[in-house]
Amino acid sequence: MKSLLQAALVIAILSAIGFLLGPYHTDIYRKLLLWIALALSYNFLFGVAGQVAFSHFTFYGVGAYAIVILVTQAGLPLPLAATAGIVLCVLLALAVAIPATRLDGFYLALATLALAQLFIVFLNEGGELTGGSGGLTSYRLPDVGGITLSGPRYTVVIVLLVTFTWILLARIDQSWFGRACRAVRDNPQAAAAMGIDVARTRVIAYALTSALAGLAGMVYAFVDNTVSPPIFGLENAFLLLFMVIIGGSGSQIGSVIGATVLYLLPFVLSPLIGHHHALVFGVVMLLVILAQPRGLTGLWAARPWRSR
Protein backbone atom coordinates (compact mmCIF):
# COMPACT_ATOMS: atom_id res chain seq x y z
CA MET A 1 0.00 0.00 0.00
CA LYS A 2 2.77 2.35 0.99
CA SER A 3 4.72 1.55 -2.15
CA LEU A 4 1.62 2.12 -4.24
CA LEU A 5 1.23 5.55 -2.68
CA GLN A 6 4.87 6.34 -3.37
CA ALA A 7 4.49 5.29 -6.98
CA ALA A 8 1.46 7.52 -7.35
CA LEU A 9 3.40 10.40 -5.83
CA VAL A 10 6.31 9.90 -8.24
CA ILE A 11 3.94 9.81 -11.18
CA ALA A 12 2.14 12.91 -9.94
CA ILE A 13 5.36 14.90 -9.48
CA LEU A 14 6.86 13.88 -12.80
CA SER A 15 3.59 14.57 -14.61
CA ALA A 16 3.13 17.92 -12.90
CA ILE A 17 6.52 18.99 -14.26
CA GLY A 18 5.21 18.20 -17.70
CA PHE A 19 2.40 20.70 -17.21
CA LEU A 20 4.73 23.42 -15.90
CA LEU A 21 7.36 23.47 -18.62
CA GLY A 22 7.32 25.47 -21.83
CA PRO A 23 7.46 23.71 -25.20
CA TYR A 24 11.25 23.60 -25.44
CA HIS A 25 11.79 22.24 -21.97
CA THR A 26 8.89 19.86 -22.38
CA ASP A 27 10.61 18.49 -25.44
CA ILE A 28 13.91 18.04 -23.60
CA TYR A 29 12.06 16.56 -20.65
CA ARG A 30 10.17 14.03 -22.73
CA LYS A 31 13.22 12.87 -24.64
CA LEU A 32 15.20 12.73 -21.42
CA LEU A 33 12.54 10.54 -19.85
CA LEU A 34 12.69 8.24 -22.87
CA TRP A 35 16.46 8.00 -22.53
CA ILE A 36 15.96 7.18 -18.86
CA ALA A 37 13.49 4.42 -19.72
CA LEU A 38 16.01 2.99 -22.19
CA ALA A 39 18.89 3.35 -19.75
CA LEU A 40 16.91 1.53 -17.07
CA SER A 41 16.22 -1.47 -19.24
CA TYR A 42 19.71 -1.46 -20.74
CA ASN A 43 21.11 -1.28 -17.25
CA PHE A 44 19.28 -4.45 -16.41
CA LEU A 45 20.67 -6.17 -19.48
CA PHE A 46 24.23 -4.88 -19.20
CA GLY A 47 24.65 -3.96 -15.56
CA VAL A 48 22.62 -6.67 -13.87
CA ALA A 49 22.63 -9.56 -16.34
CA GLY A 50 26.11 -8.72 -17.64
CA GLN A 51 25.33 -9.02 -21.32
CA VAL A 52 27.03 -6.73 -23.80
CA ALA A 53 24.53 -6.12 -26.60
CA PHE A 54 24.26 -3.32 -29.13
CA SER A 55 20.71 -4.03 -30.17
CA HIS A 56 18.80 -1.92 -27.69
CA PHE A 57 18.12 0.84 -30.19
CA THR A 58 17.25 -1.75 -32.79
CA PHE A 59 14.37 -2.89 -30.61
CA TYR A 60 13.51 0.72 -29.87
CA GLY A 61 13.26 1.11 -33.64
CA VAL A 62 11.34 -2.11 -34.16
CA GLY A 63 8.77 -0.90 -31.63
CA ALA A 64 8.56 2.58 -33.14
CA TYR A 65 8.30 1.48 -36.77
CA ALA A 66 6.00 -1.43 -35.92
CA ILE A 67 3.38 0.71 -34.25
CA VAL A 68 3.46 3.38 -36.96
CA ILE A 69 3.22 0.83 -39.76
CA LEU A 70 0.55 -1.24 -38.06
CA VAL A 71 -1.61 1.76 -37.18
CA THR A 72 -1.23 3.86 -40.33
CA GLN A 73 -0.61 1.28 -43.05
CA ALA A 74 -2.36 -1.83 -41.74
CA GLY A 75 -5.07 0.17 -39.99
CA LEU A 76 -4.99 -1.88 -36.80
CA PRO A 77 -6.49 -0.41 -33.64
CA LEU A 78 -3.87 0.96 -31.26
CA PRO A 79 -4.02 -1.70 -28.50
CA LEU A 80 -3.75 -4.48 -31.05
CA ALA A 81 -0.87 -2.74 -32.82
CA ALA A 82 0.96 -2.23 -29.52
CA THR A 83 0.54 -5.87 -28.57
CA ALA A 84 1.70 -7.02 -31.98
CA GLY A 85 4.72 -4.72 -31.71
CA ILE A 86 5.72 -6.22 -28.36
CA VAL A 87 5.26 -9.74 -29.68
CA LEU A 88 7.45 -8.86 -32.65
CA CYS A 89 10.18 -7.55 -30.34
CA VAL A 90 10.06 -10.66 -28.18
CA LEU A 91 10.18 -13.00 -31.18
CA LEU A 92 13.11 -11.16 -32.70
CA ALA A 93 14.88 -11.10 -29.34
CA LEU A 94 14.40 -14.84 -28.94
CA ALA A 95 15.64 -15.50 -32.44
CA VAL A 96 18.84 -13.61 -31.65
CA ALA A 97 19.30 -14.63 -28.05
CA ILE A 98 18.54 -18.33 -28.08
CA PRO A 99 21.51 -19.14 -30.29
CA ALA A 100 23.81 -16.32 -29.18
CA THR A 101 23.45 -16.60 -25.40
CA ARG A 102 24.43 -20.24 -25.34
CA LEU A 103 27.90 -18.84 -25.46
CA ASP A 104 30.08 -16.86 -23.14
CA GLY A 105 31.99 -13.78 -24.04
CA PHE A 106 31.42 -11.33 -26.79
CA TYR A 107 29.38 -13.37 -29.23
CA LEU A 108 26.16 -11.67 -28.26
CA ALA A 109 27.97 -8.35 -28.70
CA LEU A 110 29.02 -9.28 -32.20
CA ALA A 111 25.72 -10.82 -33.22
CA THR A 112 23.83 -7.73 -32.03
CA LEU A 113 26.36 -5.44 -33.70
CA ALA A 114 25.54 -7.19 -36.96
CA LEU A 115 21.82 -7.09 -36.20
CA ALA A 116 21.92 -3.35 -35.52
CA GLN A 117 23.59 -2.68 -38.87
CA LEU A 118 21.27 -5.07 -40.66
CA PHE A 119 18.28 -3.25 -39.22
CA ILE A 120 19.48 0.09 -40.62
CA VAL A 121 19.99 -1.53 -44.04
CA PHE A 122 16.45 -2.86 -43.78
CA LEU A 123 15.04 0.56 -42.87
CA ASN A 124 16.88 2.24 -45.74
CA GLU A 125 15.78 -0.35 -48.26
CA GLY A 126 12.25 -0.89 -46.94
CA GLY A 127 10.63 1.11 -49.71
CA GLU A 128 7.09 2.27 -48.99
CA LEU A 129 6.94 0.17 -45.83
CA THR A 130 9.66 2.04 -43.93
CA GLY A 131 9.87 5.17 -46.07
CA GLY A 132 13.54 4.51 -46.88
CA SER A 133 16.18 6.90 -45.62
CA GLY A 134 13.63 9.66 -45.07
CA GLY A 135 11.58 7.52 -42.68
CA LEU A 136 7.90 7.90 -41.92
CA THR A 137 6.22 11.13 -40.95
CA SER A 138 2.89 12.98 -41.17
CA TYR A 139 0.95 10.58 -38.97
CA ARG A 140 -0.88 11.09 -35.71
CA LEU A 141 -1.60 9.10 -32.59
CA PRO A 142 -5.20 7.92 -32.75
CA ASP A 143 -7.38 9.01 -29.85
CA VAL A 144 -7.34 6.61 -26.93
CA GLY A 145 -10.77 6.12 -25.39
CA GLY A 146 -11.97 9.39 -26.87
CA ILE A 147 -9.05 11.36 -25.42
CA THR A 148 -6.54 13.10 -27.65
CA LEU A 149 -3.17 12.48 -26.10
CA SER A 150 -1.11 15.49 -27.04
CA GLY A 151 0.83 18.22 -25.29
CA PRO A 152 1.32 17.67 -21.56
CA ARG A 153 -1.07 14.72 -21.66
CA TYR A 154 1.41 12.85 -23.80
CA THR A 155 4.12 13.72 -21.30
CA VAL A 156 2.03 11.81 -18.75
CA VAL A 157 2.14 8.78 -21.03
CA ILE A 158 5.92 8.98 -21.04
CA VAL A 159 6.01 9.39 -17.27
CA LEU A 160 3.89 6.26 -16.96
CA LEU A 161 6.30 4.41 -19.23
CA VAL A 162 9.29 5.38 -17.11
CA THR A 163 7.67 4.54 -13.79
CA PHE A 164 6.37 1.27 -15.16
CA THR A 165 9.87 0.39 -16.37
CA TRP A 166 11.39 1.38 -13.04
CA ILE A 167 8.93 -0.58 -10.90
CA LEU A 168 8.98 -3.65 -13.10
CA LEU A 169 12.76 -3.83 -13.20
CA ALA A 170 13.18 -3.01 -9.52
CA ARG A 171 10.83 -5.82 -8.58
CA ILE A 172 12.58 -8.27 -10.84
CA ASP A 173 16.00 -7.12 -9.70
CA GLN A 174 15.12 -7.83 -6.08
CA SER A 175 13.59 -11.20 -6.82
CA TRP A 176 15.11 -14.61 -7.35
CA PHE A 177 15.43 -13.71 -11.01
CA GLY A 178 17.51 -10.61 -10.32
CA ARG A 179 19.82 -12.63 -8.11
CA ALA A 180 20.06 -15.29 -10.81
CA CYS A 181 21.01 -12.63 -13.38
CA ARG A 182 23.72 -11.19 -11.14
CA ALA A 183 24.98 -14.69 -10.38
CA VAL A 184 25.18 -15.49 -14.09
CA ARG A 185 26.99 -12.20 -14.69
CA ASP A 186 29.55 -12.81 -11.94
CA ASN A 187 30.19 -16.49 -12.40
CA PRO A 188 28.17 -18.61 -14.80
CA GLN A 189 29.70 -21.84 -13.56
CA ALA A 190 28.83 -21.20 -9.94
CA ALA A 191 25.40 -20.00 -10.96
CA ALA A 192 24.74 -23.28 -12.74
CA ALA A 193 25.84 -25.13 -9.63
CA MET A 194 23.09 -23.28 -7.75
CA GLY A 195 20.52 -24.73 -10.13
CA ILE A 196 20.31 -21.64 -12.33
CA ASP A 197 19.79 -22.40 -15.99
CA VAL A 198 22.36 -19.96 -17.33
CA ALA A 199 21.24 -19.89 -20.97
CA ARG A 200 17.59 -19.57 -20.04
CA THR A 201 18.30 -16.74 -17.63
CA ARG A 202 20.26 -14.87 -20.29
CA VAL A 203 17.58 -15.36 -22.90
CA ILE A 204 14.81 -14.17 -20.60
CA ALA A 205 16.81 -11.11 -19.53
CA TYR A 206 17.55 -10.24 -23.15
CA ALA A 207 13.98 -10.75 -24.35
CA LEU A 208 12.50 -8.86 -21.42
CA THR A 209 14.72 -5.81 -21.76
CA SER A 210 14.37 -5.85 -25.55
CA ALA A 211 10.60 -5.83 -25.19
CA LEU A 212 10.88 -2.87 -22.81
CA ALA A 213 13.02 -1.05 -25.38
CA GLY A 214 10.36 -1.80 -28.00
CA LEU A 215 7.68 -0.41 -25.70
CA ALA A 216 9.70 2.77 -25.24
CA GLY A 217 10.09 2.96 -29.02
CA MET A 218 6.32 2.89 -29.44
CA VAL A 219 6.03 5.85 -27.11
CA TYR A 220 8.85 7.64 -28.93
CA ALA A 221 7.09 7.26 -32.29
CA PHE A 222 4.47 9.84 -31.31
CA VAL A 223 6.76 12.37 -29.64
CA ASP A 224 7.73 14.07 -32.90
CA ASN A 225 5.44 11.99 -35.11
CA THR A 226 8.49 11.08 -37.15
CA VAL A 227 10.62 7.96 -37.29
CA SER A 228 13.79 7.86 -39.37
CA PRO A 229 16.81 5.53 -39.51
CA PRO A 230 19.51 7.73 -37.88
CA ILE A 231 17.74 7.56 -34.49
CA PHE A 232 18.04 3.80 -34.31
CA GLY A 233 21.66 3.34 -35.30
CA LEU A 234 24.78 2.33 -33.45
CA GLU A 235 25.79 5.85 -32.35
CA ASN A 236 22.91 6.02 -29.93
CA ALA A 237 23.53 2.44 -28.78
CA PHE A 238 27.05 3.44 -27.75
CA LEU A 239 25.75 6.57 -26.03
CA LEU A 240 23.32 4.42 -24.05
CA LEU A 241 26.17 2.17 -22.95
CA PHE A 242 28.11 5.22 -21.80
CA MET A 243 25.10 6.48 -19.85
CA VAL A 244 24.78 3.24 -17.91
CA ILE A 245 28.52 3.12 -17.24
CA ILE A 246 28.83 6.74 -16.13
CA GLY A 247 25.90 6.38 -13.77
CA GLY A 248 27.12 3.11 -12.35
CA SER A 249 26.16 -0.12 -14.04
CA GLY A 250 23.86 -2.37 -12.06
CA SER A 251 22.19 0.52 -10.28
CA GLN A 252 18.82 1.88 -11.36
CA ILE A 253 19.36 5.25 -9.81
CA GLY A 254 22.76 5.27 -11.50
CA SER A 255 21.10 4.79 -14.87
CA VAL A 256 18.82 7.73 -14.21
CA ILE A 257 21.78 9.91 -13.26
CA GLY A 258 23.91 8.71 -16.16
CA ALA A 259 21.17 9.31 -18.71
CA THR A 260 20.40 12.73 -17.25
CA VAL A 261 24.01 13.89 -17.15
CA LEU A 262 25.00 12.68 -20.60
CA TYR A 263 21.77 13.75 -22.28
CA LEU A 264 21.86 17.25 -20.84
CA LEU A 265 25.64 17.72 -21.13
CA PRO A 266 25.60 18.95 -24.75
CA PHE A 267 22.68 21.31 -24.07
CA VAL A 268 24.55 22.89 -21.19
CA LEU A 269 28.03 22.86 -22.73
CA SER A 270 27.25 23.66 -26.34
CA PRO A 271 26.44 27.35 -25.71
CA LEU A 272 29.57 27.64 -23.55
CA ILE A 273 32.25 25.84 -25.53
CA GLY A 274 30.66 25.01 -28.89
CA HIS A 275 31.66 21.81 -30.57
CA HIS A 276 34.27 21.01 -27.94
CA HIS A 277 31.51 19.49 -25.87
CA ALA A 278 32.12 16.11 -27.50
CA LEU A 279 35.73 16.22 -26.33
CA VAL A 280 34.59 17.12 -22.82
CA PHE A 281 32.23 14.15 -23.00
CA GLY A 282 35.15 11.80 -23.61
CA VAL A 283 37.22 13.33 -20.83
CA VAL A 284 34.33 13.14 -18.34
CA MET A 285 33.76 9.54 -19.28
CA LEU A 286 37.41 8.64 -18.77
CA LEU A 287 37.75 10.51 -15.49
CA VAL A 288 34.64 8.97 -13.97
CA ILE A 289 35.79 5.44 -14.77
CA LEU A 290 39.32 6.13 -13.57
CA ALA A 291 38.01 7.57 -10.33
CA GLN A 292 35.51 4.80 -9.79
CA PRO A 293 34.73 1.96 -12.19
CA ARG A 294 31.28 1.74 -10.67
CA GLY A 295 30.44 5.17 -12.01
CA LEU A 296 28.90 8.16 -10.29
CA THR A 297 26.86 6.10 -7.85
CA GLY A 298 30.04 4.23 -6.93
CA LEU A 299 31.76 7.57 -6.34
CA TRP A 300 28.90 8.62 -4.09
CA ALA A 301 29.05 5.36 -2.13
CA ALA A 302 32.80 5.79 -1.66
CA ARG A 303 32.65 9.50 -0.80
CA PRO A 304 35.53 10.32 1.53
CA TRP A 305 33.48 12.47 3.91
CA ARG A 306 31.05 9.66 4.47
CA SER A 307 30.27 9.08 8.13
CA ARG A 308 30.84 5.52 9.21
Binding site: F106, E125, L279, G282, M285, L290
Partner: protein
Protein backbone atom coordinates in the same frame (compact mmCIF):
# COMPACT_ATOMS: atom_id res chain seq x y z
CA UNK B 1 38.35 -14.97 -64.86
CA UNK B 2 40.71 -12.03 -64.80
CA UNK B 3 37.98 -10.15 -62.96
CA UNK B 4 37.81 -12.82 -60.31
CA UNK B 5 41.54 -12.89 -59.73
CA UNK B 6 41.68 -9.13 -59.65
CA UNK B 7 38.85 -9.08 -57.10
CA UNK B 8 40.41 -11.83 -55.01
CA UNK B 9 43.62 -9.86 -54.76
CA UNK B 10 41.90 -6.60 -53.91
CA UNK B 11 39.65 -8.35 -51.38
CA UNK B 12 42.67 -10.02 -49.84
CA UNK B 13 44.27 -6.61 -49.50
CA UNK B 14 41.13 -5.27 -47.84
CA UNK B 15 41.09 -8.34 -45.61
CA UNK B 16 44.68 -7.61 -44.64
CA UNK B 17 43.60 -4.24 -43.26
CA UNK B 18 40.89 -5.91 -41.18
CA UNK B 19 43.40 -8.55 -40.14
CA UNK B 20 45.88 -5.95 -38.91
CA UNK B 21 43.20 -4.33 -36.79
CA UNK B 22 42.24 -7.78 -35.49
CA UNK B 23 45.90 -8.37 -34.66
CA UNK B 24 45.99 -5.05 -32.85
CA UNK B 25 43.10 -6.27 -30.71
CA UNK B 26 44.80 -9.60 -30.20
CA UNK B 27 48.18 -8.24 -29.13
CA UNK B 28 46.44 -6.33 -26.34
CA UNK B 29 43.90 -9.04 -25.55
CA UNK B 30 46.42 -11.85 -25.09
CA UNK B 31 48.27 -10.62 -22.03
CA UNK B 32 45.64 -8.36 -20.49
CA UNK B 33 42.21 -9.80 -21.34
CA UNK B 34 41.20 -6.29 -22.40
CA UNK B 35 39.20 -5.77 -25.60
CA UNK B 36 40.32 -2.39 -26.81
CA UNK B 37 37.74 -0.78 -29.07
CA UNK B 38 39.98 2.26 -29.41
CA UNK B 39 42.09 0.43 -32.04
CA UNK B 40 40.14 2.16 -34.82
CA UNK B 41 40.88 5.57 -33.36
CA UNK B 42 44.53 4.74 -32.86
CA UNK B 43 44.28 4.30 -36.62
CA UNK B 44 42.58 7.69 -36.99
CA UNK B 45 45.27 9.49 -35.03
CA UNK B 46 47.97 7.67 -37.00
CA UNK B 47 46.26 8.55 -40.27
CA UNK B 48 46.43 12.23 -39.42
CA UNK B 49 50.02 11.68 -38.33
CA UNK B 50 50.53 10.25 -41.79
CA UNK B 51 48.90 13.33 -43.27
CA UNK B 52 51.37 15.55 -41.41
CA UNK B 53 54.41 13.42 -42.18
CA UNK B 54 53.67 12.39 -45.75
CA UNK B 55 51.50 15.20 -47.13
CA UNK B 56 52.50 18.28 -45.17
CA UNK B 57 56.16 17.53 -44.46
CA UNK B 58 56.35 15.44 -47.65
CA UNK B 59 58.76 12.96 -46.09
CA UNK B 60 59.68 9.97 -48.24
CA UNK B 61 57.30 7.08 -47.62
CA UNK B 62 59.57 4.68 -45.70
CA UNK B 63 60.80 7.43 -43.38
CA UNK B 64 57.36 8.94 -42.80
CA UNK B 65 55.89 5.51 -42.19
CA UNK B 66 58.59 4.55 -39.71
CA UNK B 67 58.15 7.87 -37.97
CA UNK B 68 54.38 7.44 -37.58
CA UNK B 69 54.66 3.82 -36.43
CA UNK B 70 57.21 4.72 -33.77
CA UNK B 71 55.10 7.67 -32.63
CA UNK B 72 52.09 5.35 -32.48
CA UNK B 73 54.03 3.06 -30.16
CA UNK B 74 54.29 6.04 -27.83
CA UNK B 75 50.59 6.70 -28.24
CA UNK B 76 49.77 3.12 -27.25
CA UNK B 77 52.14 3.32 -24.31
CA UNK B 78 50.47 6.56 -23.21
CA UNK B 79 47.02 5.04 -23.63
CA UNK B 80 47.98 2.24 -21.30
CA UNK B 81 49.44 4.60 -18.72
CA UNK B 82 46.37 6.83 -18.71
CA UNK B 83 43.44 4.48 -19.12
CA UNK B 84 44.57 1.01 -18.10
CA UNK B 85 47.37 0.87 -15.57
CA UNK B 86 45.70 2.92 -12.82
CA UNK B 87 42.70 0.61 -12.98
CA UNK B 88 44.61 -2.67 -13.19
CA UNK B 89 46.83 -1.74 -10.25
CA UNK B 90 43.80 -0.97 -8.14
CA UNK B 91 42.41 -4.40 -8.96
CA UNK B 92 39.40 -3.05 -10.82
CA UNK B 93 37.29 -5.61 -12.74
CA UNK B 94 38.41 -6.29 -16.30
CA UNK B 95 35.44 -4.40 -17.72
CA UNK B 96 36.74 -1.12 -16.24
CA UNK B 97 39.73 -0.68 -18.57
CA UNK B 98 37.54 -1.68 -21.53
CA UNK B 99 35.19 1.17 -20.65
CA UNK B 100 38.02 3.60 -19.96
CA UNK B 101 39.38 2.81 -23.42
CA UNK B 102 35.97 3.67 -24.88
CA UNK B 103 36.46 7.06 -23.23
CA UNK B 104 39.87 7.31 -24.89
CA UNK B 105 38.24 6.46 -28.21
CA UNK B 106 35.97 9.51 -27.91
CA UNK B 107 38.90 11.69 -26.82
CA UNK B 108 41.06 10.62 -29.77
CA UNK B 109 38.27 11.19 -32.25
CA UNK B 110 37.25 14.57 -30.93
CA UNK B 111 40.82 15.75 -30.48
CA UNK B 112 41.44 14.98 -34.16
CA UNK B 113 38.24 16.76 -35.12
CA UNK B 114 39.23 19.84 -33.12
CA UNK B 115 42.79 19.86 -34.42
CA UNK B 116 42.14 19.13 -38.10
CA UNK B 117 38.52 20.09 -38.68
CA UNK B 118 35.83 17.97 -40.23
CA UNK B 119 37.18 17.71 -43.77
CA UNK B 120 39.02 14.60 -44.92
CA UNK B 121 42.76 14.94 -45.53
CA UNK B 122 44.81 13.20 -48.20
CA UNK B 123 47.58 10.65 -47.69
CA UNK B 124 49.75 10.28 -50.79
CA UNK B 125 50.03 7.02 -52.69
CA UNK B 126 53.35 5.29 -52.24
CA UNK B 127 53.15 3.85 -55.78
CA UNK B 128 50.77 6.19 -57.57
CA UNK B 129 47.95 4.37 -59.31
CA UNK B 130 50.19 1.77 -60.89
CA UNK B 131 48.86 -1.60 -61.83
CA UNK B 132 50.14 -4.99 -62.90
CA UNK B 133 48.52 -6.88 -65.74
CA UNK B 134 50.12 -10.15 -66.59
CA UNK B 135 48.05 -12.85 -68.23
CA UNK B 136 45.16 -13.54 -65.91
CA UNK B 137 46.83 -11.66 -63.09
CA UNK B 138 45.66 -8.11 -62.51
CA UNK B 139 46.26 -6.08 -59.38
CA UNK B 140 47.20 -2.65 -58.18
CA UNK B 141 50.63 -2.05 -56.71
CA UNK B 142 48.97 -0.80 -53.56
CA UNK B 143 47.13 -4.13 -53.08
CA UNK B 144 50.32 -6.08 -53.50
CA UNK B 145 52.12 -3.72 -51.15
CA UNK B 146 49.41 -4.18 -48.51
CA UNK B 147 49.46 -7.95 -48.82
CA UNK B 148 53.25 -8.11 -48.68
CA UNK B 149 53.56 -5.88 -45.61
CA UNK B 150 50.71 -7.67 -43.80
CA UNK B 151 52.19 -11.07 -44.53
CA UNK B 152 55.52 -10.05 -43.07
CA UNK B 153 53.84 -8.53 -40.00
CA UNK B 154 51.97 -11.77 -39.39
CA UNK B 155 55.06 -13.91 -39.90
CA UNK B 156 56.79 -11.69 -37.38
CA UNK B 157 53.90 -11.87 -34.93
CA UNK B 158 53.64 -15.61 -35.31
CA UNK B 159 57.36 -16.02 -34.74
CA UNK B 160 57.20 -13.74 -31.73
CA UNK B 161 54.30 -15.52 -30.07
CA UNK B 162 55.32 -19.07 -30.92
CA UNK B 163 59.07 -19.06 -30.94
CA UNK B 164 60.46 -16.42 -28.61
CA UNK B 165 60.63 -16.35 -24.86
CA UNK B 166 59.15 -12.85 -24.73
CA UNK B 167 56.17 -13.98 -26.81
CA UNK B 168 55.63 -16.97 -24.60
CA UNK B 169 55.61 -14.69 -21.60
CA UNK B 170 52.58 -12.95 -23.22
CA UNK B 171 50.87 -16.30 -23.22
CA UNK B 172 51.85 -17.02 -19.64
CA UNK B 173 50.46 -13.71 -18.51
CA UNK B 174 47.26 -14.49 -20.33
CA UNK B 175 46.89 -17.81 -18.56
CA UNK B 176 47.53 -16.65 -15.04
CA UNK B 177 48.77 -13.22 -14.08
CA UNK B 178 49.82 -14.25 -10.61
CA UNK B 179 51.71 -17.30 -11.76
CA UNK B 180 53.40 -15.23 -14.43
CA UNK B 181 54.50 -12.72 -11.83
CA UNK B 182 55.94 -15.56 -9.77
CA UNK B 183 57.85 -16.75 -12.82
CA UNK B 184 59.56 -13.38 -12.86
CA UNK B 185 57.72 -11.90 -15.82
CA UNK B 186 57.44 -8.16 -15.54
CA UNK B 187 53.70 -7.62 -15.90
CA UNK B 188 53.97 -3.89 -16.34
CA UNK B 189 56.50 -4.17 -19.09
CA UNK B 190 54.50 -6.84 -20.94
CA UNK B 191 51.33 -4.76 -20.73
CA UNK B 192 53.03 -1.54 -21.85
CA UNK B 193 54.67 -3.33 -24.72
CA UNK B 194 51.37 -4.92 -25.74
CA UNK B 195 49.63 -1.57 -25.98
CA UNK B 196 52.55 0.03 -27.78
CA UNK B 197 52.74 -2.79 -30.29
CA UNK B 198 48.96 -2.80 -30.72
CA UNK B 199 48.96 0.91 -31.54
CA UNK B 200 51.86 0.49 -33.97
CA UNK B 201 50.00 -2.26 -35.81
CA UNK B 202 46.84 -0.14 -35.97
CA UNK B 203 48.93 2.76 -37.27
CA UNK B 204 50.44 0.58 -39.97
CA UNK B 205 46.99 -0.57 -41.02
CA UNK B 206 45.77 3.02 -41.20
CA UNK B 207 48.78 4.07 -43.29
CA UNK B 208 48.12 1.24 -45.73
CA UNK B 209 44.42 2.05 -45.98
CA UNK B 210 44.20 5.83 -46.05
CA UNK B 211 45.98 6.40 -49.38
CA UNK B 212 42.85 4.68 -50.77
CA UNK B 213 40.28 6.52 -48.69
CA UNK B 214 41.72 9.65 -46.97
CA UNK B 215 42.14 10.47 -43.30
CA UNK B 216 38.85 11.34 -41.67
CA UNK B 217 37.92 11.87 -38.05
CA UNK B 218 34.99 9.45 -38.19
CA UNK B 219 36.96 6.61 -39.78
CA UNK B 220 37.75 4.79 -36.52
CA UNK B 221 34.51 3.09 -35.52
CA UNK B 222 33.89 1.16 -38.76
CA UNK B 223 37.46 -0.11 -38.67
CA UNK B 224 37.11 -1.10 -35.01
CA UNK B 225 33.94 -3.03 -35.83
CA UNK B 226 35.43 -4.75 -38.87
CA UNK B 227 38.60 -5.68 -36.99
CA UNK B 228 36.57 -7.06 -34.10
CA UNK B 229 34.43 -9.06 -36.49
CA UNK B 230 37.54 -10.49 -38.13
CA UNK B 231 38.93 -11.39 -34.74
CA UNK B 232 35.83 -13.28 -33.71
CA UNK B 233 35.53 -15.05 -37.06
CA UNK B 234 39.11 -16.23 -36.86
CA UNK B 235 39.00 -17.05 -33.18
CA UNK B 236 41.12 -15.41 -30.51
CA UNK B 237 43.14 -18.51 -29.74
CA UNK B 238 45.68 -18.30 -32.52
CA UNK B 239 47.65 -15.51 -34.10
CA UNK B 240 46.90 -16.62 -37.64
CA UNK B 241 43.17 -16.59 -36.77
CA UNK B 242 43.19 -12.80 -37.11
CA UNK B 243 44.57 -13.06 -40.64
CA UNK B 244 42.19 -15.80 -41.71
CA UNK B 245 39.23 -13.97 -40.14
CA UNK B 246 40.08 -10.69 -41.85
CA UNK B 247 40.46 -12.24 -45.26
CA UNK B 248 37.29 -14.30 -44.95
CA UNK B 249 35.33 -11.23 -43.91
CA UNK B 250 36.62 -9.17 -46.83
CA UNK B 251 36.04 -11.98 -49.31
CA UNK B 252 32.48 -12.43 -48.05
CA UNK B 253 31.83 -8.71 -48.35
CA UNK B 254 33.33 -8.22 -51.77
CA UNK B 255 32.28 -11.43 -53.45
CA UNK B 256 28.65 -10.83 -52.42
CA UNK B 257 28.92 -7.26 -53.67
CA UNK B 258 30.23 -8.51 -56.96
CA UNK B 259 28.27 -11.67 -57.61
CA UNK B 260 25.08 -11.86 -55.53
CA UNK B 261 22.25 -10.70 -57.75
CA UNK B 262 20.02 -8.73 -55.36
CA UNK B 263 19.15 -5.07 -54.86
CA UNK B 264 22.32 -3.02 -54.42
CA UNK B 265 21.27 -1.54 -51.08
CA UNK B 266 20.52 -4.95 -49.65
CA UNK B 267 23.79 -6.53 -50.73
CA UNK B 268 25.61 -4.92 -47.80
CA UNK B 269 23.28 -6.83 -45.48
CA UNK B 270 24.44 -10.19 -46.84
CA UNK B 271 27.82 -10.30 -45.06
CA UNK B 272 26.08 -9.30 -41.83
CA UNK B 273 23.61 -12.11 -42.25
CA UNK B 274 26.41 -14.54 -43.06
CA UNK B 275 28.18 -13.37 -39.93
CA UNK B 276 25.18 -14.06 -37.74
CA UNK B 277 24.73 -17.50 -39.27
CA UNK B 278 28.43 -18.21 -38.94
CA UNK B 279 28.32 -17.38 -35.24
CA UNK B 280 25.48 -19.80 -34.77
CA UNK B 281 27.21 -22.63 -36.56
CA UNK B 282 30.76 -22.09 -35.41
CA UNK B 283 30.71 -20.07 -32.22
CA UNK B 284 34.34 -20.53 -31.24
CA UNK B 285 35.68 -19.00 -34.41
CA UNK B 286 37.23 -20.76 -37.32
CA UNK B 287 40.48 -21.66 -35.65
CA UNK B 288 39.98 -23.00 -32.18
CA UNK B 289 42.80 -22.47 -29.71
CA UNK B 290 45.14 -25.39 -29.42
CA UNK B 291 44.17 -27.63 -26.53
CA UNK B 292 40.78 -25.96 -26.25
CA UNK B 293 38.99 -29.23 -26.89
CA UNK B 294 40.48 -30.95 -23.86
Amino acid sequence: MQDLIELLISATAGGCIYALFALSYLVVLRPTGVINFAVGDWGTVAAFGGFLALSEAALPWPIGMAFVIIAAFGLGWLTERIAVRPLVERGAPVLAPILALLGMLVIFREAVSVAFGPDPRPIPQPFGYGRIEFGLLAASYQSIFIIGITASVFVGAWYFFERTLAGRSFEAVALDRRAAALMGINLRRVTSFAFGAGASIAALAALLLTPNTSAHYLMGIPLAIQGFTALVIGGVGRTEGALVGGIILALAEQLTMRYVPIAPGLVQGVPLLLLIIFLLVRPTGLLAARGASA
